[in-house]
Each structure stands twice: as structure tokens, then as C-alpha cells.
Amino acid sequence: MSPLTYIFALPLLAALLMVFIPRNFRFVIRILALAATFASMIIAVVMFGNYNGGLSGGHFQFEQKHLWAPSLGIGYHVGVDGINLGLIVMGAIVAFAATCVSRKIATREKEFYILLMLMAGGILGAFTSLDLFCFYFFHELALVPTFIMIGVWGQGENKNHAAFQITLYLSVGALLVLVGLLALYLQLPVGSRTFDIVGITDYFKTHTIAAAAERWIFPLLLFGFGILVSLWPLHTWAPQGYGSAPPATAMLHAGVLKKFGLYGLIRIALPIMPAQAEKWVFVLAFLCLGNIVYCGLVAIRQRNLNLLIGYSSVAHMGFAFLGIASLTTIGITGTVMIMVAHGFLAALSFALSGYLHEETKTLDMDKMGGLLRHLPFVGTVMIMAMMAGCGLPGFANFPGEAMVLFGSWDKFAVVAGLAVWGGLVIGGVYMLRAIRAVWHGEKAWPGVSDAVGVWRRLPFVLLVGSLILLGCFPRLLTDSIQDSVEPVVVMASGLQKLALPPVKRTPRTPRPRPVTNPN
């Protein structure tokens, strides 16, 4: 069996087991959750090590395929290539970290952990699936847990409103996507209809999609996926929802689940519908400015730390969209890099703000200040996270954003220029102001204690460590990403169907890694 199956099935299995554990066995439930996510993280990391980066694009590794509902062309198909490799590893690490930081949940632990495991399993399943049905199915699996977790364990007066807002908004996006995906599936001739992403992509390598259908499907997918990624102006669910969610939910959602839309655009929409992609990227490029500049400016005004992180996370999505809009290998490689980096960053930020809220009982930045003296470890990590958020070199966001800007310069010079300004200046303003408001100052905080001990520090160390590791050695990922992104770009620029010679690839020396058997 493919390791990918274990990665998402372990949390789901844990959720199922927990149903049968009596509710007062709190310790057992928590250990089970930790064990399941830890195991799936280890498997993911091992898989990352065994991934053969030398294979060129279009090839999936660790594949596993079964029939599920053959009459509809639905199958169980998992596999990994450069595009989802980093996302799966990042998702598994975040899932473990999210389970770690849920230590303080004191009411109805059983339900909490069942929902958390369901959510983690669903998210990881969505990124491992190579079947459109499963891809959608697993994503939706996370919807109900999000709703209940925000409502029951969330914080703030608006949590009720936030729970409904996030659920309804995401449902709109998901259902638009569903209509689009079904329409896409129906473009295949009767008899060979399949939900298999590889099958569909292969079919459209040699066939062109009907223009009338493409005109409908591309915007459906663009805005459907766009809502899921909080594309401006459809982003309003994100800051409020994350601000009210318990830290674990916000980590998984902002960190991992939100990347689903970007992943879908890269994996499905771009390669299959090049003609419409060409038209819509201009719209996308200007909408992404809304994310970067507008949401950045809104973030400056926030006084609540969680809302600030929420808005900054929406702003970061702008860079990811810009990379997609560039339709270049380097730009989309940058997007994937940002997706991974932002996953770690968002999870880290929400984990830290959750810790702060536990200790100080407030997230109002006007009431905070002077916390660095009391919380040296948490403070240092948070300042690092905020610096990473401004795009400081040395953290994983920097290579991603840099690549996106390089990629988009040719096509959208103005947008790229404004994006740099938005990212560096506006981002710098709100992050530095936040650092000053929260960490500096004279205020004394009796009774506030730092994260001590290996277990409490582990989630933060894992996340910030991954950020630094990828920041210093981005080639750990970028080579594999580029290999897999190139065929996407070739299809998206419509080159293949015009029978032009393949794009010139920069000669690179193959990775000096022993080729191991993927199974």
C-alpha cells in the first residue's frame, strides 16, 4: 500500500476509534490523536526523503489505484508529484503541531479530537488524491468539523457569526467548484468518462475542450477555488473565521486547507483550459492586488492580533495568485513554494497567538505590550514568524515570493511592482507595529509563563524549523516542483496542441540522490 494512504487514513482511523472510547478516558484520546498525527507526519517525512526528484514531470510516485464506483468513473487514486509533495509533508507536520497545541482544550475533549482528526484526515486526503471525486470529497469532509469547532471551542463574541460565515462562504466556493468539475468530467466522451485527474489531463493533452463549455467552466473553477483561497473581494470569511476559531482549527484551515483552491487551479484549471486561462489571468492579476494591497492596508488597522494574522494571511495569498497569473514555470513554482511556506507560517502564527490568548486571555493589541520579558521563547519565535511574514530572506516565504516576482515581471510589471511595495512596505508596517505593540513596552504580566519543556516547545520548533530549513535550502523542494510545474505550464500556454517544439528547459544536473524503489 502506498504511504500516502497511511498519511491520511491514520487520522481518520483514529477518529473512528475514538468514537468507541468512553468520554472520560481523556488521556487515551489525546495520546491516540497525537500518535496518529505523529505517525502520519513521520511517514510523510520518510516519503519526502524517498521521493525521487530526478524523474521528470507528469509522473506520479507512490501511486495507488482502486476502483470505487466504476459506473461513474470514480476511483481511489493517490499519488504525489512535485506540486503536492511539499503540501502533503507540510500538512502532516501542521496536523501534528495542531494536535500538540490543543493541550488546553478542557471541555468535551472526545468530540474535539474526533473532529480534529476528521479534519486532518480530510485535508491530507484532498492533497493526496488524484481523483476529482475524492479530491472534492475529502475537502468537504473538513467543512462540518470547522463549523462545530469554531462554534463550540471558538473564542470571541462573534464566533457564532464567524462559524456560519465561514461555512456558507466555503460552501459557495466548493459547490461552484463541484459544478465546474462535473462539467469538466462531462466533456469527456461517454464511455471513457473518468474522474481520474491523470486520465482527464492526458485526454486534454490531445484534445481541445469545447470552447462553449470552457467559457463556463473556467470562471466557475476560478471563482470557486478563489473563494476557498480568499481571493479579494471574496475574502471576508477568512480573518473573522480564523480569529474566532480555536488555534488548532485555524492552523489546519489557514495553513493547509486554504491551499486546496490554489492546488486545484494549478492541477486542473490551468492545464486543461489554456484558452480561458490566458484571458482570465489578467483579471486574476488585478484581483490579487486587492489581496496584497487592500488587505494589507486593512491589516494595518487591526487591533486584534488574530484578525491581523488573518488579514496578513489573506494578503499572502495575493502573491500565490500572482504566480499563477504569470503562467510561467518560475512563477508557478514560486506559488507552490509560497503555499508550503505560508502553510508553516500561518500555522505557526495561529499556534502562537493561541498560546498568547491562553496566557493573557486577550488578543487586543492595545492591552498587550511588554510580553517579551515574560515570554522570551514564544516572543522570539513570534518575532521570527512576523519577520518571515514580511518576506525576510532566510525564511521559506522569501524564495517563493522572489520567484513569483521574477515570473510575473514580464507580463505584469506594474502589478509586480505594486506587489513588492505591498508586500514589503505594508507588510513591514503592520508586522513591526504588531511586534512593538505586543512584545515591547513596560507593562508587567504577573502569572504569565513561557512555553517550557520539550513537549510545549515542540510544535513551535517544528514549524519555525521547517520555515528556516526551506528558507535556507529552497532547492529541497523547488527542483521537484519545477519538474512537475513545467508540463502544467506547457499545457497552460497551449504550446503542445500547436505542435511547437517543447519549451527549452534549463539544463540542470540531476539530484545526487540514490534512486530508491518508490514502493
Binding site: 464506483a69 466504476p70 459506473s71 468537504e140 459557495v172 459544478v179 462531462l186
Partner: protein, 481 residues
């Protein structure tokens, strides 16, 4: 031999009469236990029908009025399962029915017989008789709790609206007969050429469809659903919501795609309008509802709208989706109404569910699963059903781009519906205010089994659609598009 074809129907009627007879010699205290007899009989008949295969050749009987085919067999099992569930709920509910509990069981069985006939109609005459058998028994069933004002009100409303729809139905059939001088579906289908453009024939068909819209609670005959759902005793509401609606849809499928497929093909605009309005009406009106059963009444209008999409799609996949969706709907609403019957003894307000999670985690999970399935979220039956419906609609959009808008209307409807379905989920799981009723709820073994079956059915249909899809594909073989 013709009579051999209708053994299940005859057995059900015989069972009903037997219960009425045995009732005469049963002491009052033991009467609720007659339900066990009814349930046992239903199980036996259900097992009997399992001997038939859905993948069968169709045989007509009774001068072509009755047809024995896959669709009929599938729905007979469906109705038997629904009735079994309702009878079990009735046993649980017996303490709230002051008298005539034996008649209650007998009436449920008679309605069941009507439904079983309605799934096998091949003639407008038999259709009318079957529909009336269902509707007339429901007049009585809806107002069974004579002491409750709401219940009587529901009965009167159902009676008036039912009588009105019957009038439409008869008038429509009369016009059809006047223009075609035939009531048999096969005859009508074979005279396609001459009738396809006959205005009188069209008028008759439209008027008759209005009458059928009453059964499925679709626009323009949807007004009764919320009042009746709210007022009727809970098992009757369940029966009405699941089986009566399914009977309406199987009749609709038979009429449109067996008798007059050549007309149905030209009615895209009509179907788009009716389905769209039904979806939006049901969902928008459900938003402010606080009474759980009333909310489900509006939600059932919306669900009828979704199901109409499958008919509007005018293709085999659409019909298959309707059948699949109805099966999922049976398990979903089964779970929901079992929980309502157990929990909402005094108040049916959504607020009365507060703290249900603490009172009984099983019931809380069942009701939440039901709501999630109704909302169409994976991994439950409702999702698979809606998936198939949207697929069928988008499939037809290749021929008529207006269907993309119809798909978007459905998307809008589903999103609106999540608001009120999740409102119920919120009531279940959000912390209860202190001072609320916190007594644990006792669940009797038959209710436990029913719940388990419904929950398993929801998950099975959501996760493993293949086996049932094969069966539904066989079931809709008789239809023409």
C-alpha cells in the same frame, strides 16, 4: 396469472385487514402491541420481495393497467422499508395517540398498499385509484391526534388542498382522455405523432401535473407542507415526507417518461421554472423557522425542488439520480424523525434540542448526521444524491445552456439550506443554558436498531454508491428519454 404479480400488495392489504380484525378481540392495554404484528408482517413481505430481481423484464397485467418491472420492484422495497420504520415509530409513539392505535397501523398499511400500486402503474385509471388510496388514508392519519388543535388544523388543510389537487388530477385525466381517447401509458406512448402538438392534450397534462405537484409538495401546490408537517403526529410526518413524496416521484417518472416522453422532451422551460421556484421557495422560507417539524416541511419543499432537477435533466442519469436521492432521503429522514419522535415530546422548537449532545450523544449524532446529509455534505447519502443530480443537470446543459443557471440555483439553494440545517446542528452541540432539561433519554431497542440502520444507510450510500447505482440503473431501464 395476473394475481401473482400483485402478491406483495395483496399481502399488505390482507395484513391491514387482519390487524383490524384482531383488534376486535384485543384488550385495550395490548393494542399498541399490534404494531409488532404489523412490523413482523412487513418484514416477511419485504423478504418476499427480495426474491425478485430489479434487473427483470417487464410484464404487464390487468389489461395493461399494471406493470411489473424493475422500477416497481425497487420502489416496493423502498415503501415497505419506509412503512416498517413508520410502524416501529408508531409503537414508540403509541402513548401519545389516545385511541385507535390499531387503526393507525392498519391505515399506514393501506397507504402503503396505495404506494406500492403507484409504483407499478401503467394506466391513468390505476394511477388515480392509487393516488386516492394514499391521499384518503393520509387525511385520517394526519389528524390522528384528535385532541391537538394543531393536528386537526393540519388535517383540515391537508383535506382541502388534497381535494383541490384531486380535482386537478381528475380534470387533467379527463382532458387527456378527451384528446387521445386512451388512458393506458403504452397506448399513449405509441400514438406519439398525433398527440405531440395537440393543445388540449398538453393542457390536460399540465393540469394533471399540478395535481401531482401536491403529492411531492412542489410549486405551485407546496403551501400545505409546512402546516401539515408541523401538525401531524411525528410518524405520520415521516411517512408523508418520505414515502408519499417518493410515490409522487415514481408516478411522475412513469407519466413523463413512459406515457409521454415526446412531450416531456419539449418542456425544458416548464421544468426549469418549477424546479427553480420550488428550490428557492423552500429554502428561503425555511430560514426563519423555529419549529423543527415546520422547518423540515419547508426543507421538504426544497428537497422536492432538487429532485425535480433530476426530472428536468431529461436523461437517464437524472432519473437514476432521483431514485438514488430518494433512497438516501429515506435513511436520512428516517434518522431525523426517529430522533424527533424521541426528543421532542413537549416542544418541537429547535431550541428544545439544546444540550442534546449531553443528554444522548447517539441521538445527537444521528440528528446531526441527518442534517448534514440533508445539506449534502460528504460523506453521507445526501451528498452522493446531490452529486448525481448536479451531474445530470450539467449533462443536459450541453444541449441547453440555461441548465447552467439551474445548477447555480441549486448551488444557491444548498448554501441557503446549510444555514438552517447547521442552525439545528448548532442547537445540538452548542453548550446548553443551565436549567434546561438535562435528563438522559431512554432509547428502546427497536428505535436503536432503526437508528443504526438509518445511520449505516446514510454512510453506505455516501461512501459506496456502486452497488446501489447498479440497482438504480436497472430500475430506470423501463423509462424512455
Amino acid at each position: 396469472m395476473n394475481l401473482l404479480l400483485i402478491i406483495p400488495e395483496i399481502s399488505v392489504i390482507g395484513l391491514a385487514l387482519a390487524i383490524l380484525l384482531i383488534d376486535l378481540w384485543t384488550p385495550a392495554a395490548a393494542k399498541p402491541r399490534l404494531g409488532w404484528l404489523a412490523a413482523l408482517g412487513l418484514v416477511v413481505i419485504l423478504v418476499m420481495t427480495l426474491a425478485d430481481s430489479v434487473n427483470t423484464v417487464s410484464i404487464t397485467g390487468f389489461s395493461g393497467a399494471y406493470v411489473y418491472d424493475g422500477l416497481g420492484i425497487f420502489f416496493k422495497r423502498f415503501f415497505l422499508t419506509a412503512a416498517l420504520l413508520v410502524v416501529l415509530m408508531g409503537i414508540e409513539f403509541a402513548d401519545r395517540i389516545p385511541l385507535g392505535i390499531a387503526e393507525f397501523y392498519a391505515l399506514v398499511l393501506l397507504a402503503l398498499a396505495g404506494m406500492m400500486f403507484s409504483s407499478a402503474i401503467n394506466d391513468f385509471m390505476l394511477m388515480f385509484v392509487a393516488v386516492e388510496l394514499i391521499t384518503v388514508t393520509f387525511y385520517v392519519l394526519v389528524s390522528f391526534q384528535r385532541g391537538r388543535l394543531l393536528c386537526l388544523e393540519a388535517g383540515v388543510k391537508y383535506l382541502i388542498m388534497g381535494a383541490l389537487s384531486t380535482a386537478f388530477l381528475v380534470f387533467g385525466i379527463a382532458l387527456l382522455f378527451a384528446s387521445s381517447s386512451a388512458t393506458n401509458f403504452s397506448l399513449l406512448a405509441s400514438s406519439a405523432g398525433s398527440l405531440a402538438h395537440d393543445k388540449l392534450f398538453w393542457l390536460g397534462l399540465v393540469v394533471m401535473l399540478v395535481g401531482l405537484a401536491f403529492k411531492i409538495a412542489a410549486f405551485p401546490m407546496q403551501m400545505w407542507a409546512p402546516d401539515v408537517y408541523q401538525g401531524a403526529p411525528t410518524p405520520v410526518t415521516a411517512f408523508l415526507a418520505v414515502a408519499s413524496k417518493a410515490a409522487g416521484f415514481v408516478i411522475l417518472l412513469r407519466v413523463l417518461f413512459v406515457a409521454v416522453p415526446y412531450v416531456a422532451r419539449q418542456w425544458e422551460t416548464l421544468f426549469i421554472i418549477v424546479a427553480g421556484i420550488t428550490i428557492l421557495y423552500g429554502n428561503l422560507c425555511a430560514i426563519p423557522q423555529r419549529n423543527l417539524k415546520r422547518l423540515l416541511g419547508y426543507s421538504s419543499i426544497a428537497q422536492a425542488g432538487y429532485l425535480l432537477l433530476g426530472i428536468a435533466a431529461l436523461n437517464r442519469d437524472g432519473a437514476q439520480a432521483v431514485v438514488y436521492y430518494l433512497l438516501g432521503y429515506l435513511f436520512t429522514l428516517g434518522a431525523v424523525f426517529v430522533v424527533i419522535g424521541l426528543v421532542c415530546r413537549e416542544s418541537e422548537d429547535v431550541g428544545a434540542l439544546a444540550g442534546l449532545n449531553q443528554r444522548s450523544p447517539v441521538l445527537a449524532a444521528a440528528l446531526a448526521m441527518g442534517m448534514i446529509s440533508l445539506g449534502g455534505i460528504p460523506p453521507l447519502a445526501g451528498f452522493a444524491g446531490k452529486f448525481l443530480l448536479i451531474k445530470a443537470v450539467v449533462e443536459h446543459a450541453a444541449f441547453d445552456p440555461r441548465y447552467y443557471y439551474l445548477a447555480l440555483v441549486m448551488v444557491a439553494g444548498v448554501v441557503i439550506s446549510l444555514y438552517y440545517y447547521f442552525g439545528v446542528v448548532r442547537a445540538i452541540y452548542w453548550p446548553a443554558t443551565p436549567g434546561e432539561n438535562n435528563a438522559p433519554i431512554h432509547i428502546s431497542p427497536p428505535m436503536k436498531i432503526s437508528l443504526a440502520v438509518c445511520m449505516a444507510g446514510m454512510v453506505y450510500l455516501g461512501l459506496f454508491p456502486n452497488a446501489v447505482l447498479t440497482a438504480t440503473a436497472d430500475a430506470v431501464k423501463a423509462l424512455k428519454f
